[in-house]
């Protein structure tokens, strides 16, 4: 039982950190530019495809990851300059419509180029096996690749924290999230800042997509479900707040993973078998939405509101 809980907790941490990579870009685009980007999930999908294609071509996962992330950054730059720049000042409905259109285009483009079937992305050979730890005198096995994801996620989270909390650019970003007009009036090149943030967000999407690629299937439509989770995260954390995105990601990742692993077992212990069989998976999948509705009910601005 301890093993199961520890394993699921680590899985939750890993999932949460990957969600953070997605949510960080989303919350900044949302918070600073006041732009709803439904196509953020499509960037994640396209990024994963870029990584998979580059990894197949170069036969090295890490080269593929680097090339894919750069490719997604370039795509992000093109999108920002050609489309998103026109959307920032428009109302939310226009943004929803435009980015919804982008989802349709991205899904169909990916289906046309790579076909409708999921494509394989293998982890590096060196990381394929599990690692053993001593735990209470027993051996505890955990996949090496997942440990690497956790390490990369933690490193990126730390980097992002330093960048946003300590650097001058980060100060502008936070100022932009708190009050855009005032920041512009103080002479910050907000337009350039927007572009940089958007491109950075796209790169983070591809990083998450590429890292998760070997664990989940790289397929059309993979962005839609994860997009909703990223939105849940930034709503829980408070729109525009990196700290909120981190806390929200870890909460959502852990609650979702542990809920799915443990709730059915717990319910079986307390309820009749057939009721538990129906209720368990249902309750586990809606747990994070219940959490979000509850948090919004008591803290309508999220846990760490960026705007005072």
């Amino acid at each position: 039982m301890t093993q199961l809980i520890l394993e699921q907790a680590l899985n939750g941490l890993q999932f949460g950190l990957m969600l953070f990579l997605l949510a960080a870009g989303l919350t900044l685009v949302f918070g600073i530019m006041d732009c709803i980007n439904l196509a953020h999930g499509s960037l994640y999908m396209v990024g994963a495809y870029f990584v998979a294609a580059a990894a197949q071509a170069s036969e090295s996962f890490w080269i593929g990851l680097a090339v894919g992330v750069m490719g997604a950054a370039v795509l992000g730059l093109l999108l920002e300059v050609s489309l998103f720049r026109r959307l920032y000042r428009r109302d939310h409905l226009s943004q929803v419509l435009a980015t919804f259109a982008l989802i349709l285009i991205a899904n169909e483009a990916v289906r046309t180029i790579w076909g409708p079937a999921a494509i394989m992305l293998n982890p590096p050979d060196a990381l394929a096996g599990p690692v053993a730890f001593p735990l209470f005198g027993e051996e505890f096995f955990y996949p090496a690749y997942r440990l690497v994801i956790i390490a990369v996620g933690l490193a990126v989270a730390a980097l992002l924290y330093l960048l946003v909390a300590k650097s001058r650019v980060g100060m502008w970003v936070r100022a932009g999230a708190a009050n855009r007009e005032m920041t512009e009036a103080l002479g910050v090149n907000v337009r350039g800042l927007f572009t940089a943030v958007f491109v950075f967000g796209a790169a983070l999407c591809a990083l998450a997509g590429g890292l998760l690629g070997p664990l989940l299937a790289v397929q059309v439509g993979m962005g839609e479900s994860v997009l909703i989770l990223a939105f849940v995260v930034i709503i829980i954390g408070g729109i525009g707040s990196i700290r909120g995105a981190l806390v929200g990601s870890l909460v959502v990742g852990t609650v979702d993973t542990l809920g799915r692993a443990l709730l059915p077992t717990l319910l079986r212990a307390t309820l009749p078998a057939d009721a538990a069989a129906t209720l368990g998976p249902a309750l586990a999948s809606i747990l994070i939405y219940l959490l979000m509705a509850g948090i919004l009910f008591f803290k309508p601005q999220g846990l760490f509101p960026a705007r005072a």
Binding site: R90, L97, A101, L104, I235, I239, A282, I286, Q301
Partner: protein
């Protein structure tokens, strides 16, 4: 935006459209194109669903990204009614409306405490909960959805023929548009639109803002439930896909294309989107790309929607 006021030529146009639509099945049958009766029915049903969202979004100013929940619940209630032995649409459809409306009342009561983006997201969250509930419920088909054994009867007459279902859908849409048209210009609709324009002022004037919004939200949910029940009859399946957030997005897109806050926005949007889909799917396998580019074109070049041409606005 300002208050909705129909253009003078709109009434004869709507009447003409209605007459043309009543003749449509017979014309299609005469030309041996009865396949299109099904498509026309689908269009009417989505026009109904989009119009119900337009009441919430266009007139109430509430950007709901969870409208598919009420749509899907309507479909499931119809299927569950049939499973329970109730095959009469006069019982099943009101039941679908009641369940969807009551659920919308509950969702609205919680969601309307939030504003702006948070409202969008909390309605989305509720819709996701419904989606996962139905996916996990094995008694109702889980992932596969709940199939109907056959179409229902309406007041004893079978809806099995495509023409019969077409007229049932046309009747539902006509009644709804007449009701919404009256509402939009009645005290209720005026108050609702005034709240959309300036909530604080309406609050200060002593209007129960929350209750007006909630009423519109619940009414929109109930009508979406009716659309769902009709769609379940058309396709013979209450599918969890109806509850997916992309479906909410599609309805939202229909309303935006058609024109937010024009009475006919939902109808025009559904016709444009489904018509484009049908036309493009015949031309190219990659019609999604063309559709996406067209939507981008609408955003960039026709920001107020197609139906902004219908219906003058003051100010």
């Amino acid at each position: 935006m300002a208050f909705y006021r129909p253009a003078r030529w709109l009434r004869p146009l709507a009447l003409g459209l209605f007459i043309a639509l009543t003749a449509l099945p017979f014309v299609l049958e005469a030309f041996d194109q009865s396949f299109y009766i099904g498509f026309a029915t689908r269009l009417l049903i989505f026009a109904l669903a989009a119009s119900s969202l337009n009441l919430v979004l266009g007139f109430g100013g509430m950007v709901s990204l969870g409208h598919a929940a009420f749509f899907g619940i309507g479909a499931y209630v119809a299927a569950i009614c049939q499973q329970a032995g109730i095959n009469e649409a006069l019982l099943a459809f009101p039941a679908a409306m009641a369940v969807a409306g009551l659920f919308a009342l509950a969702v609205g009561a919680v969601s309307l405490r939030t504003r702006g983006v948070y409202f969008i997201m909390i309605t989305l969250a509720f819709a996701q909960m419904v989606y996962y509930l139905f996916i996990s419920a094995r008694a109702w088909g889980g992932d596969d959805g709940l199939p109907l054994a056959g179409r229902m009867t309406l007041a004893g007459f079978s809806l099995a023929g495509d023409t019969a279902l077409f007229f049932a859908s046309l009747a539902a849409l006509t009644a709804t548009m007449l009701l919404f048209g009256r509402l939009a210009q009645a005290r209720f609709g005026r108050t609702l639109q005034a709240i959309r324009e300036n909530e604080t002022r309406m609050e200060a004037l002593g209007y129960p803002v929350f209750r007006y919004r909630l009423a519109a939200f619940a009414l929109g949910g109930a009508v979406a439930g009716l659309a769902g029940a009709l769609l379940a009859n058309l396709t013979g399946l209450a599918s969890p896909n109806l509850l997916q957030w992309m479906q909410s997005g599609t309805l939202l897109v229909m309303v935006i294309i058609g024109g937010v806050g024009s009475l006919w926005g939902g109808v025009v949007g559904a016709a444009v989107l489904l018509g484009l889909e049908e036309a493009l799917a015949g031309l190219t396998a990659h019609w999604h790309i063309v559709l996406g580019l067209s939507l981008l074109g609408v955003v960039l070049f026709a920001p107020r929607g197609v139906a902004a041409l219908f219906g003058r606005r003051d100010g």
